[in-house]
């Protein structure tokens, strides 16, 4: 497989289907004489059993099965790495929806990738609170690091809801901050070593900032750990 495009570079044209073109002429103008796109034939669409089970379980949770569109896309993206046409076709086949419908949903949301993406997601929050504290420089640092590490999917992201640890980033879903340029390098090393990223700055271990929130803290006179 050829190297994935690096952050900031133009992405090459994506083949519509991995095995060639199942729908010849997909990039040509619409042929109005053709019948409309239909729900993929379950007999012809191969869906991994675990994916089918996950989507069917999601559909069962809602009064209307269509509500499972986002969970289904999450599940499909997790298995395929991105919302590839096969991924969409598989989800559509299980949900009994057209691929066009699921594509329209997937393109609306930031977390669904419509092109192949590198393995590790690095979402850098560049919204107001974080940018006041230097998030734009942090984003630049990550972009530079991504040049030598093609497996980093560096994106600037809107507010991730962790302004208390700004400037911060979400590394494969793990919130870390406040980050410096050195931390960024450490994160890349941790990712390559397969370690938990920057454990001492993970949000999950952070205590509430309110000095009154923890009676034990107040009694012992310890300020909340930052």
């Amino acid at each position: 497989m050829s190297a994935l495009p690096r952050a900031g570079e133009d992405r090459p044209k994506v083949p519509r289907f991995g095995h060639g073109s199942r729908v010849p002429g997909w990039d040509e103008a619409v042929d109005l004489t053709k019948p409309p796109a239909t729900i993929p034939d379950p007999a012809l669409t191969e869906v991994p059993d675990d994916l089918r089970e996950e989507i069917e379980a999601a559909m069962a949770r809602y009064p209307d099965r269509r509500s499972a569109a986002i969970p289904a896309l999450h599940a499909a993206q997790q298995r395929h790495g991105w919302c590839s046409p096969q991924a969409i076709a598989q989800a559509a086949s299980v949900m009994r929806l057209t691929p066009a419908y699921l594509t329209s949903v997937a393109t609306f949301y930031d977390m669904f990738a419509m092109a192949p993406k590198p393995k590790h997601d690095v979402y850098v929050c560049t919204n107001i609170s974080c940018s006041l504290l230097g998030a734009d420089e942090l984003h630049e640092t990550f972009l530079e690091l991504a040049h030598d590490n093609p497996d980093l999917n560096v994106c600037s992201f809107e507010c991730l809801g962790a302004c208390d640890i700004g400037p911060m980033a979400s590394i494969n879903g793990e919130y870390v901050g406040p980050l410096t340029a050195d931390d960024a390098k450490q994160i890349v090393e941790d990712l390559h070593a397969g370690r938990p990223v920057l454990e001492h700055k993970q949000l999950r271990f952070r205590r509430c900032a309110d000095p009154n929130a923890n009676r034990a803290d107040a009694e012992s006179g310890n300020p909340p750990t930052a």
Binding site: R66, L132, C163, D164, I165, L203, C208
Partner: protein
Amino acid sequence: MTQLLIFDNIDEPGLNTLAVYERRGGYQSLRKALTFPPEAVLQEISDSGLRGRGGAGFRMGQKAGFLPKGDMPKYLTCNADESEPGTFKDREIMQKTPHMLIEGIVIACYGAAINEAFIYIRGEYQLQGDILEAAIQEAYAAGYVGTDILGSGHDLNLVLHRGAGAYICGEETALLDSLEGKRGNPRLKPPFPAIQGLYQGPTLINNVETLATVPHIIAMGGKRYAEIGTETSTGTKLVSVSGDVQRPGNYEVVLGTPSREIIYGLAGGPQPGREIKLWFPGGSSSPVLTGSDADLDLPYDFDTMAKAGTMLGSGAIIVVDDTHTVLEVMRKVAKFYAHESCGKCVPCREGTNWTVKMIDRIESGEATPMDLDLLASVQTEIIGNCLCVLGDAMAMPIGSMVEKFRSDLEAEVEAARERAGAGPMAEAIPVGVTDPVF
């Protein structure tokens, strides 16, 4: 004054598990509520005067009262799509005390005779989603959720739904569309969700913090809860303080606490030697306040903020100190809303995009102070002209910044012209005027 309801010993190890939550008296409010008739539960909530903590500040009791009576399927949706820049209070609740939220949901559903509830959590909150998911399973296993809850005969099905990254899905009707598996576009109101919401059924939508407050109201009684805070803004509020402060974080304050006490007292104020230039009292969607004593001394409650021309919003204070320019802040705010506009309504889609372009024009040194007037006029054209308030949410802070920091912005226009080597202002052609056509 310190009074903690939600944050009381929030970092106790294991509070996210049922065992610790129960040991601390968890689900006692639910047991108490189930001994009341449902109407009495809603009455307690009405008596408490609890106002929505998500942004609009609408009274929860009143909202629940709009739900039609009858046997049709009704829904409760908990809005956990916390995406307002500067807001991170719901995250702390869901991560550390998820059962408080679940208990609140079950009580509200019992009161409003709802059998189907959804928590719409933003997709980025993976850790919080996992914790909440585990807590829901525990609650099901313990019989707090499910069929015939604690022998009361009330059934509730609670589902966690993860979003996928869209600010607009925090808007209640867009959230409903997204939950129905569609693109998150807001709907035309009326009908309001209380009449026709999720799957066309009556739907009660409340923020995480609002619902997490419900168990406390039941425990202490609505009337006693109403004694906390001010007359029209009752209770305590989680405030997320971020930006240029020394101790950013979530703080639980009694509504009506002076803003200065929150920004300086709790959050430590700006770094030594710096002054506050401006601050957002309720997330990036609220009109800004200045660092003046008059603004800093405002009591932090719904009505005072509304009277001061701004809003309490989601309770997110973003502090900007004097090392940043107003233009820089404006650009960040405008770019965010331009990116997040769903594109359904023209004033918002075009207004947010053109605002960014106008700010870029100022930065590139091509603008004159007349562009500021144009910028302000675009904002007034957005407000009130769209299905939802996303456009307004940009127009209000940008408009307020142009109004309150006019001289700063004019100086920045001049400075940008100088940097770009543009000619003196007098020679600049006013925007939109090329040749007089008359």
